[in-house]
Structure formats: C-alpha cells, structure tokens
Symmetry: none
Subunit: 210 residues, 4 copies
DNA sequence: TCTTAACCGAGACGGTACGTCAAGTCTTCCT
DNA sequence: AGGAAGACTTGACGTACCGTCTCGGTTAAGA
C-alpha cells in the first residue's frame, strides 16, 4: 500500500507499531483513484475538481484531503498505477532494437491511450506545484530513466557504444524530442519520426569523437 | 500594433476604413502589458489573475477582455515582446559554432532571466488551452524553428551535413533535450550539457567519410 | 432603502455624489429578503443557511455577503420589515388601557404569527454575535421602548402616576415578564397573564392617595 | 452521581440489578465536565465544540456522546453543578428583604462570575433544542421558582401580601426584568435597578385591588 | 480461569456549511 | 463607442465539526 499510495501521509509511521484509531478504508482508496482516473480521461487534470472526484467516488472531501495534499499528487497516483507496466524494458540484442522498441512503446502509450492527456496535464500542473514536480521526478522520471539506462549499459558491455557516452544527455535527447512534440503538437509522432530520432542519436554516440 | 498584439480581436475591422466611436487607448495597452509582465515575473502565470492585472494597470476588467480572450494569450503577448530579440541568429562559420551559440543564448534566457518561469508557465497553460497552444506554435515556436533551420541550411550549403538530414527531427532533439530539463528540472543545464547535446547531434548528422 | 437595509455597507458614501460602477440590484435585495423571511418562518434562524437563502433567492452567495456581514444581520433586516408596524402606539385615554392594548399586540404577534420564532431566534443569535446585539438594541429594542415610554409620559401628564417613576424599570418589567415566558415556555401567555402583569405594575407605580 | 448527571442515559437499566460489562469511567465524567466548564468560561457555549471538549478532556468523542445526546445537555450539566448552591433561599423576616437578597445573589452570579455567559448561552441554545429547553425548565427554572415561591408563601403567612396574589406572575416579573437586561444588555443591573424592581413589585402586590 | 459485554482512546468515515476567490459577463456614468 | 468601476452568477476552494463507525485494548461480572 505504501508503495502504491505514497502521496498521502501514509498512515501509521513504520515501526511505531500499533496504528491506533480506525484504519483508513481501502475501499475509499480504490473508489477515489478509480474516480480520478475516469475524470482525468474524460476531461483532463485541469478540468477535474476535487469536489467532483469526491462526489463520483461517493466519498467526503476530507477523505481525499486526508490522503493527498493536492490535486496533482492524487492525479500522479492515479497515473502511476496505469503507467508503470506500460513501459517494459525491451531486450532485442541490439541498441537500435531496444531504443526503437522503447520509443514505440512510449509513443503508443501517449497517442493511443488516455496516458497522453494525463501526462501533459501532470507536467503542466508540476510547473506550479513544486511538490508534484519532485514527486514526478522521483516516481516517474527517475524510474523510467533508470530502466532505460540499462539499455545503454548493455550496449556498452557489448561494445556497441563507447563507455564514455553521457547517458543522461542521451536520455534527455531521447525523451526530450518526443516530449517536445507531445507538448506542443507542432508535428506528429510517426514511425518515421521515431526511426530518425533513434538513427541520429545512435550515429551520434557510435561514431568515435577522435 | 496589430503585429504586436494579435491575441485580441484586433480592434477595428480591417479594411472597414473609419473605426467609428472612441478609439482604443494606447496607454491602456501599455499599462496592461507592463502590469502583466511584472506579475508574471513576480509570481508566475498560474498565480496571476486577470483581476490583479486590471487593478495594477488601473484598468477595468472589461478593457482587458475586450483585447484578449484569455489569460494565456495576454501572457503570450507580454512574453513575446521580451523574448523575441533575445534569440539572435548566430553565424559563426561552422554549424558547431552556430548550434553552441544558439543553445547558449536559449539556456541563458531561461535560467538567468524571468523568461524561464514565463516559458514553463505558458507551456503549462497551453496544455489546457488549445487556442494558446496554436498561438504559441505560430508566434513563438515556428519563428524560432524557421530561424534555426537557416543554420542547418547553411551547413548543408557548406557541405558540412548532407541535404538528406531531417531538419525537423534535429530541431526537436536540439530544443527537446533542453526543454525537457527545463520543465522537469531533474538535471541542470550546464555548459557541459550544452556541449554534449551539440556533439551528439552533430556526430549524428555529419556526412560519413566513407 | 438606507433606512430599511442598514445592515450592509449601504453602498455609496452619502454626499460623495456619483456612486461609480454598477449599482446594486434592487431585485436581488428583494429576492434575498423574501427568501430569508420564508426560510425563517419555515425552519427558524438556526436551521437556515446562507447557502440555502442564496439558492432560493436565485442569487450568488457573494451577493449576500456583499450586503450583510452575518446571518444575524440579514435576519434582523428581514424581521424588522415585518415587525415594525405590528406594534402600534395605542392611545386609549388611560394607562391601563394603553398597557393592556400594547401587551396584547405584542403577545398576539409572537404567538399568532411567525414573529415568535424569529424573535427568539434573533435573541439567541445575538448572544454570540455582539454586532447583532447592538443592532437589535438600536433597531428594535430602543425604538420599541421609546414608543412605549410615550404611554408613561402621557400618564404622568394626566397625573395617573408620579413623575418620579423609573420608566426604564417599568418597561423592563413590562417586556421582561412576557419575554421570559416566550423564551422558556414554562407558562402560556394568556389574557389573564396579560391582565395580571398590567395590574401589578400599575398598582406598583400608581400615585398613593395618602 | 445519577442525581448530578441526569442528562445522559443514566448508565445501568433501573431495576435490572447487575450492570454487566465494564462500568463507565468516573474519571472520564469528571474530565469531560471540567473541560466543558473551562471552555464555556473561555469562549462560550456556541464557540465550544464537542471535538474540543473531547480533546481537552483526553477522551474519545464517543465517550461524550454515550453520556450526553447534545452539546446543550452537556453544558447544562456543567452549568448546574456550579449554579445550584449559588442561589440560596434567604430568610430575612420581611418579603422586601428576601426579594432584595435573592435578586442581589442572582445579579452577582451573572455579572461577577462566568455564570452570565453560560446562562445566556444556554438560553440561546435552548431556542433551537427542544430537549434542552425542557431540561432547562425541569432542572434549573422550576427548582429556582419553587425555591423562590417559598418566600412569597411566607409573606402570605405573615400577612404581608394577600393570598390571592398570582405567584407565577410575580416570579415572571421578578426574574423577567433582570433576564431581559442580561440578554439584551441595554441597561446595567445596578443596585438601584434591583431596589426599584423590588419596590414596584412589592407595591403592586401589597396594595389591595379593591 | 475463562468468557463476554460494555466500556475506553483514537481517529477515519460521509456530510453540510462555511467564508473566500476568481472567472467571465453585465450595467451604470463619464469621456 | 470606449473606458473605469463595480456589480452580477457560477463554481470550486480548503477547513471545521457534525454524529457515526471501526479499530485494538481494558475492565469487571458471571460461568
């Protein structure tokens, strides 16, 4: 539970032993997150109010505020549940295959599912909510980067790319280009776009900078 | 005026000749934009209300709504005035020099001035305001891309990179990586970051010697 | 208007000339007071919420808060409108006749109309709202006392009672006994009660024949 | 204890003999009443919440609700404990002496101690809580009246006043006038006020209504 | 000694209403 | 007709208490 709903006060302090008082309702947790997810998909984070979430979940507003300190952190929890396993760690044998597969999965998620609007809504909200910004980094961004860094490490082990590669910069280029198109929508994220992004990055780090 | 404040209804119908009635106050325009700029710098787009802008500008709310249909478009106008000339088109003789110079200018603007919060605030707002999203593309993004595409065209003419390079993808990688760090703040935009971004892209698109 | 709705900010300062801005809606005033009166009669002051008044009046909550700073002052205005002329100044020629007539009118008002619950509700509310307490004194109690003091003054002029009578104490006994029964309800306010109250007071202050 | 805290469910079923189960904590009773008394004195009945009483008494809310069905009844119990013996039955030998002494005691209690705010708060609360209204009559008003009726009976026995005197009306005038000033605060309860109230009533019932 | 019933503190539960803020619109007088 | 002022309706905010409920854990009497 703690792992899935870290946005709130997380109930009893770990190690403090007895949790005292009526325990938080697991049903309420579920109802709130379900309602949030539905509303997020229906009208986006900005147009969703805590009041509406409470009404749809059949829950008092305080029950939500007791668990989450802001709309953003609630939305983050709802998002994370759906997003986590949609981003698998591919292992195709070559870096090109891995990168293509990973970017395809990301693009598919943000264009074919409700993840797209959720993601943009959360990034938007994070711009004026420092706590959400931090939580987003800790619970979405860093896990994703850590996972994808593995692909680069394997490529280094295989000798495909030099060990001197700045993996952080590579990840920023990799996700940055796609995120840029997602946020501004100036150009579509086609298969060709994906291929070329991977091509440029791959060529850029494969070639020796002698 | 029309060219600088296209966010609003543009006042008198174009071509109708005589504007009839009292003309719009130029002082009001200036006062509103100045107040907006101040508030944007002080507390960001999200925490700025039309009501406050009106109060500080010494102007009725109606006077603002008559010119701009949304807070975002007003902020965009205030932003554009300040942002435009901060992004010069460098011409250093080599693509590497041009790219480094351009990215340095961008990073400096968003980290050393109030442009950073304004930019992130506007991108955030654009996520739930389609009109602003369009205006942002037309009035900020495309001009910037057009300007930077020239650098790539010159490099092609010089034979530094092949004509087959997908310039849009290059621009997405170029701006995407930096914007990514700006929005999420997971890593700083140091000089080294700038250099490596340029290096990877450059290596990725430079003509093969084979 | 000022005379009838002194609970609010009373709009423009008198003498300041032009009232600037959109004037307060007279319809809203009326709708609010009507709704308040209905709800007060239906369920009493305590069980009436500002929210419900707003809803029934078809008015925003702020429109009420702009005019009245508390529920009590709003209720007071609604009450005063109804109560004012229900308490006529009788002139029967004798003090006994005047007092009987006045007390009858008061008892009739609080037992036969909705004035009773309103009055008790307002006195109750005034116990924890000093502003209402003051307003009640100024706008209900003192006018009523001033009016009834006239009856005593006429009796003094006629020589029925000595000029040395403490008229304030007489009024306190007169209203106090009835109010006491109204608030605690331990005994009914019958015609006999009225007669005996008047008898005792009258006997107590009538000039000694000695 | 039962005699002093009759507001609650009175614990064990009458006649059932053995109460079964854990007996109610006497400490909790005391703590709750003490906390109530403190808060009543500090901020009045209206501004005191059950939640705060529970917190200060170091007691669960349930423990309070198990004993008292409403805030008013709890406050009544706290009040009665303090108020009871403050109102002695004077026996000075003359009705004037008795009345003066009794009214002095009452005025002193409500003006010099925290009894005043408690009393007004309870009367206020009783206006929208019929149960409290009944309890107030049974446990405060009637005992007080019964006690003071004795003074009138003694005066009748002594021949000071005729037996035909309506003692209820006299008591209403006696307490009504003072309560009136207490609730509305339009005039102070001075020694002169007390004397004149007694004078008028005494003169009113002494004199024969031939 | 072991149930068993009612208590205890703590604190979460679904609600209601609070008083405030800002949104975008409307209405007045004035320029 | 534009402009400043300030009203208007709407809707959401986050908070405080309400009276109820559920925990784990006493505390006694009865079996």
């Amino acid at each position: 539970m703690n792992a899935e709903i870290p946005g709130g006060a997380a109930g009893a302090g770990s190690g403090t032993g007895a949790p005292r008082g009526r325990p938080r309702s697991v049903e309420a947790d579920r109802a709130i997150l379900t309602a949030t997810l539905e509303l997020l998909a229906e009208r986006g984070l900005d147009a969703t109010s805590i009041e509406e979430v409470a009404a749809r979940a059949g829950v008092g507003k305080t029950t939500i505020y007791r668990r989450w300190t802001s709309k953003g952190l609630l939305a983050l929890d709802a998002f994370v549940i759906s997003f986590r396993e949609e981003q698998p760690l591919p292992d195709t044998g070559t870096l090109r295959g891995d990168l293509l597969s990973a970017l395809h999965a990301w693009v598919r998620a943000v264009t074919q599912t409700a993840m797209g609007p959720m993601l943009t809504g959360l990034i938007a909200e994070a711009q004026h909510d420092p706590e959400l910004r931090g939580a987003w980094r800790d619970r979405v961004l860093e896990p994703l980067r850590t996972q994808h860094r593995v692909m680069l490490d394997r490529a280094i082990a295989r000798g495909e790319i030099p060990a001197s590669v700045d993996r952080d910069v590579v990840l920023d280029l990799f996700f940055g280009a796609a995120e840029h198109r997602l946020l501004l929508g100036h150009l579509p994220m086609t298969g060709e776009f994906i291929a070329r992004v991977v091509d440029v990055i791959l060529a850029g780090i494969t070639r020796t900078q002698t």
